[in-house]
Symmetry: C2
């Protein structure tokens, strides 16, 4: 894999000059074509041996292309803020819009490369890291983000010579970083780690390209050529994942709901106060400062999402929760993978995020209204499970509610809303239209629950014909789950 690069090939000045004009012209042209089409973003991962000229190459790419449409992102060790979220959060947040290019230093490969370069790497951890990277890149590729990964490589001798040459003059010595000087001592391990990472994560949709880096001209041309090739390439079809299996016993759960149970008003007030008090206390438990709470509310129109959410937020400190109402995505949201906007609204540790409708729109309204092609929403079950698993893995408590109303009760509430002077805003032609598609939405919801009701992030189906009982049940699930997670009561 590195034999060619370690032969330290070079390119004469004349050969370079000839290539330069061709490459610059083609790069700019390809960049503009990409911007105009705005079908895919390009993310270029920069990795490789330290002191191989990565930074210089990125400067060159910015010079050869139109830098206003390229963003260069450097990530270091996660800072205090970043540690409050799952590890991939910062990369999700920084995704460029379709048509644009991002160059990433300190990418999601850093932990894998670091582990691989240890004296005795933990192979389980290597496996887990490589697997999570493959999932991430597959998901990006399938959702409009093209990946190109550059590995800058050269022989140990050339690496040493380059640092020495730069250090020789005060005008260039600053280009040599402390880590560059450590490379020599561990070259074999770094090479081995790179080899492992590349072989485990190379794929047609997210290819690695090794850039021979000993010679400035060769490195520049090889990198530019790789970027050009990526810009010009059409979308690579990401292999469709196996369809997400339905979970045993969860098929069509919505078909057998009992809507008749109810609670009387006095009982309701008492139990509500009790549950809200428990929630208030749990949220102020010091143990919660290392956790977070994510609540997703879905359900038919008029099933009482808003009312239920208000009963949940009443006992919360306004500084500690955020409600995100989810409607159709805006243009700048549409230009990123559909989960992007949800990643941006995740709670930090000690906080609560409430979604009034959620990422499940992908397999509900987008499916039923045919806003998204079938392969994309079918793939979403797995993507969503993976997303929620990352949250749970980072300490989030995740609950999902499907608020179910009977057809008759919904009709009654629609009529009431039409009559009430201050509730008419809650009823729109869309609501009546959705009602006519009742069976299609119900089928979509049944499938959704069957495929995404996971141990870590379970669905709670609540019949809401009696609003009061429904609110108590929502609170009860939250309170019990949170108390359990915090080791209370």
């Amino acid at each position: 894999m590195f034999a060619e690069a370690e032969a330290d090939p070079s390119l004469s000045r004349d050969a370079f000059k000839k290539q330069e004009t061709r490459l610059r012209t083609a790069l700019v042209k390809a960049q503009y074509a990409r911007l105009e089409a705005a079908e895919r973003a390009l993310v270029i991962v920069v990795a490789g041996i330290d002191g191989a000229g990565k930074g210089a190459t990125v400067n060159l790419l910015n010079e050869w292309m139109d830098p206003r449409h390229i963003v260069t992102q450097g990530f270091g060790l996660p800072d205090e803020r970043e540690r409050q979220y799952p590890p991939l959060w910062r990369y999700w947040n920084a995704l460029p819009a379709k048509g644009r290019t991002a160059i990433v230093f300190g990418s999601w490969y850093a932990p894998l490369l670091f582990e691989g370069a240890r004296k005795h790497p933990d192979t389980d951890r290597l496996d887990a890291l490589a697997s999570s990277i493959r999932h991430f890149e597959e998901q990006l590729s399938a959702n409009g983000v093209q990946l190109l990964k550059l590995w800058f490589h050269l022989s140990p001798k050339a690496q040493k010579a380059r640092s020495k040459r730069l250090l020789a003059s005060p005008e260039t010595a600053w280009q040599v970083l402390p880590e560059d000087l450590l490379v020599q001592r561990h070259f074999d391990r770094l090479r081995e780690s790179g080899h492992h990472a590349i072989s485990r994560t190379d794929s047609p949709h997210a290819p690695w390209v090794v850039i021979p880096s000993a010679d400035d001209n060769m490195r520049a041309v090889a990198a530019a050529q790789a970027v050009l090739h990526a810009l010009q390439r059409g979308a690579i079809r990401v292999p469709a994942p196996g369809s997400t299996p339905a979970i045993a016993g969860r098929r069509k759960v919505l078909d057998k709901l009992d809507y008749r149970a109810n609670v009387d008003k006095d009982d309701y007030e008492n139990r509500l106060g009790d549950l809200q008090g428990r929630l208030a206390r749990a949220m102020r438990d010091p143990a919660f400062r290392q956790r977070s709470l994510v609540l997703a509310f879905e359900g038919q129109d008029a099933a009482g999402k808003g009312g239920a959410i208000r009963r949940v937020t009443q006992p919360l400190d306004a500084r500690h929760y955020e409600i995100t109402p989810v409607a159709a995505p805006s243009p700048h949201e549409l230009s990123r993978p559909y989960l992007w906007r949800f990643w941006r609204r995740l709670p930090r540790l000690g906080r609560v995020a409430i979604f009034d409708r959620s990422w499940y729109g992908r397999v509900l309204v987008e499916r039923v209204e045919e806003l998204t092609p079938a392969p994309a929403w079918k793939r979403a079950y797995g993507e969503i499970n993976d997303f929620e698993a990352q949250l749970v893995g980072h300490g989030a408590i995740v609950l999902k509610f499907w608020l179910a109303i009977s057809e008759a009760e919904q009709l009654k509430r629609f009529r009431e809303r039409e009559k009430s002077p201050y509730k008419t805003f809650k009823i729109t032609p869309d609501d009546w239209r959705n009602r006519r598609k009742w069976p299609a939405y119900l089928a979509a919801a049944n499938d959704m629950i069957a495929r995404t009701d996971t141990m870590g992030a379970p669905w709670h189906v609540i019949a809401t014909d009696d609003k009061r009982l429904a609110r108590l049940q929502v609170l009860e699930h939250i309170v019990e789950t949170v108390e359990k997670a915090l080791g209370r009561g």
Copy 2:
């Protein structure tokens, strides 16, 4: 000011019920009218005596209006991330879009109220805080954000009684917060502090309304009425500030530039390396971790902004700087005050933000192309000076560059760009159009420099007919300013 509220007026259940329907209907109607017009955002500041039912009222407003278009924001003491930016940064970041409503707890009044409630308040600090609030609110009001400030008030007796009532039952006891119980001991001071804050910051464009809060019904109706009134009200004209005076000796500085100086290539390479080395070392100085660097680049087309920026970034660590190319604002940027998008791209401590064009577009392109009415861009000089003063006050090192090219040299570079296969992208019909407006842009730039060349954030005018010399001068100004600020050399 508080006499009426401390009389603890109440409203009967019947009177309340009558008001409720009217208010809810009118609130929803006004909210939707506002959303449709999308001319102004409404920011409601919630303050007052703790334990007066602020939280309950905000819940009620969310119930009475369409909560999907209201965002409730709670701010506590600034966290580690927030402390990296000027104090108002987090409020700027959270501004709602036009048409929408934000309710703010823990607003920019917190430091003023806290200082005012001390046993011996520092009157200089009180003055400074009140003055900075007035500036902030004036600026928001003038730029499409309407303000309403609610002060929840009641007698000490009623406050005590309310906490006692809630504490009596386990179902409501959690509503009483520790700070509510401290109110009694310091009631006089809290009242005095509120009185001071209100009298110093009440204005037609950002009015305070005192809400009698002892009685739930009265409090709800008074708050809803205040919000309704605000939603229905037309824009209040913010008094035009006195025009920003030109700084002595800075009038028409661009008219007397000498474009002939130059540097030879060898000399250039040596000095460039030396300056980049000094910059690299300064940026890695531990003292810089408590500072930040903000660079704004303006200048005529083809004056070499991109090339100069690249020479500045070469010695920087990619993880520590960000270049923001500034073009026409996007729709979600247009729906906030024009400085909003720049507040969002400020550097945290230890970082560098480079703006390739900047907030000065307000008084350059927006003025010359008549995209913004004259009163708005004239007001901008003062708003910009205030913005930069906040950055400098928080430790940022701010430099602004005007790269000036002669008309003849610009024509030469335009022609070269047209001929170069990889530079044609840099030349557009806009560039030729701007060139024909040369005198208008020059006049705007002269005015801009004369009015915003402040001690803390000076303009550096650089003649760029010789690109190399220009790059050296840019670097030299940065290096010298940074070294001085860090106490180096």
